[in-house]
Amino acid sequence: MTSHENIEKKLEELAQSITPNGTLVEKVMSRIDTKHIAELSIRRFITNPFIKLSAAAVIIITTGIGIYYFTCGTTPAFGITDLPELFEQAKVIHIQGWNYFAGHRMPDGAEIPPAEIDNWIDLENGRSRYTGTGLSIDKNGVSVTTAETISDGQYQICLNHTERHATFFRISDYQRMLNAYLISKLMYGQIFGEIEQLQNFEKVGYEQIDEVVYDIWQRDTIHAVTEHANRFKFWISPNSGKLGRVQVWSKENDGQWELDNDYCDIEYNVVIPDGIFSMDIPQGYTSKNTKETAIASELGGGGGVGYSDDQYDLRANTLIGFMMGDGSVIAAWHSVNNKSQTPQEEFFKGLEFGGPLPKLPVEVYGLKPAGLSSDITYTGYHLTYTQKAGKFIEWSLYVPDRTPPASARKLGYDVLYRFNLDPEPKTTIGLTVDCNLLIESAKDFEKWVLEAMAELSDDGKAPADVSYERVLQLAERIKSKNN
């Protein structure tokens, strides 16, 4: 089905299958018969922008403020740098689009069918609905998992649409606090981190979508570790500042750009349809539990990397990160070799506050600001560790070798890691840690860092030897030594 004629024929056949309903016009006309057209005319009068403007002018002129002239006398011209402010004003955000799995193919080389994304965020009420897609590739082929996570602020339900099952999670007080903070800062979602990367975007053209003309802004980034290139494109209306579309492209080995994500329908402050945040289990789905028996959700949605062969199964995950006011970063991470008999506690013996990191199977030895063409490197030092449900969590301080740009926090960090094997396996998997929380006082430190440590401890307490002052002093000492 590749020729022009074929497409036309198929479209005609499809149209024939969608037979018109002979009574639709009558039914619609009978339903609208009771509506009075005068109501519409009045509403049109009110919603007409020019009439609105005149009304506003009257009010403004009578109060003696010259905003009327400002409103009418300037040509609106929104650009990419206006996006954060426009997003800040949004109370409801809806993003719809497609994940194309760029760079991945079926075993026979064919492309993987795209997966639909349909996300909602209700900022005022802390509710969200996210579509997630997962890709697993093994010798049996490629499988795509589509899942939705719906949160009402207290509970989450995860719906696995591929296997048709549902699982309830309970969110802890800390997670609730964290989610509310992250949502309020609009840093929760696929595109919000990216819109902060405002520098070095350039306008590359324009396009009309649904009668609205959008400027197209573009920027390429290169991952610090994998050197993988991505291209971000934003469609922004110069008249209203509306973000109409976002695309993320990926540069493949042959040098070609492939579309990875296409968020083609972005709406703000629309009425949320009924049932969007419903936590009801769809019929035909099996439920692993109920709200009453919900599983406690684990803190740390960070990504992971791994290496596996007959002898080794090495894994590492980043859990949470914080940026200190002086530019250094605290990150929690976890690493195991599932095929090793060495107990985890062995790795943490003899470690000192401010000393070298534990030689875990995968070692997160440093960070680099994500998405920036920068050679700044953050070197890791051990702070402490916590234990939860048999898992050992390393808490490290990463100190930059020079002053990082202010945008570093917004972009997150690419993780520099090594597999502690000889020879070291090579991988091109990128890993990042988000640091959306800025710690500028002892109070912030207690509220966010120590509470996170407590959350990730069996006894619910943070280690006693870590404090805001000690961490800052350590960072200062390392910086002085570097200079």
């Binding site: 479209l11 149209a15 969608i18 639709l24 016009v25 519409l40 922008p49 997966a115 649409h161 649904d210």
Partner: protein, 174 residues
């Protein structure tokens, strides 16, 4: 033939029958969008009716009468999603549409579902002209008149849309 904008203005000026022309013009495109979301012909028929009534109720809020088509399609999609949410037992969203036999029970076969999903995925302006051209059986000249663009623009949009459809379908024909 009157343009969408002329018809919308006529309705707003009290000529209710002008809305019947819009319903007739967009019946199949609206049905197609609803069918794409719901995967069920009968549900799609109900939703189509709701979408037209809703668009009538909100017609005064449409700032650009010439944008009636894309605006109506958005309303339809929203109505269909609402319906799907209310009736999860009867339908899942597009990704979950079950393959079905042709028409007797109101469903489309798999190829047609795929093509319909691809059409719906087109950018708004292209989607509108494809639907008006093929689903509502208008000539290119009539489509141009309805949407208030020149014939050259519509021809280009149709051509781009077909190319895009080919790409989307090639991706999904696995």
């Amino acid at each position: 033939m009157r343009t969408d904008a002329e018809l919308v203005n006529a309705v707003l000026n009290g000529e209710k029958q002008a809305f019947a022309v819009l319903v007739k013009r967009y019946e199949r495109p609206v049905r197609a969008i609803a069918l794409d979301v719901l995967g069920d012909y009968h549900l799609a028929a109900d939703v189509s009716q709701d979408a037209f009534v809703k668009s009538y109720e909100k017609l005064a809020e449409l700032r650009k009468p010439e944008a009636f088509g894309p605006w109506l399609m958005k309303i339809t999609r929203r109505c269909a999603i609402n319906s799907a949410r209310r009736k999860p037992e009867q339908t899942r969203l597009r990704t979950k549409i079950a393959a079905a036999i042709e028409n007797p029970d109101g469903s489309l076969d798999e190829d047609k579902q795929r093509l319909l999903a691809a059409v719906v995925k087109l950018p708004g302006a292209e989607r509108q002209v494809v639907m008006l051209r093929y689903f509502a059986d208008n000539s290119v000249k009539d489509v141009a008149k309805i949407v208030g663009r020149n014939i050259g623009t519509v021809t280009k949009q149709l051509s781009r849309a077909r190319k895009r459809l080919r790409k989307i379908l090639e991706r999904s024909e696995l």
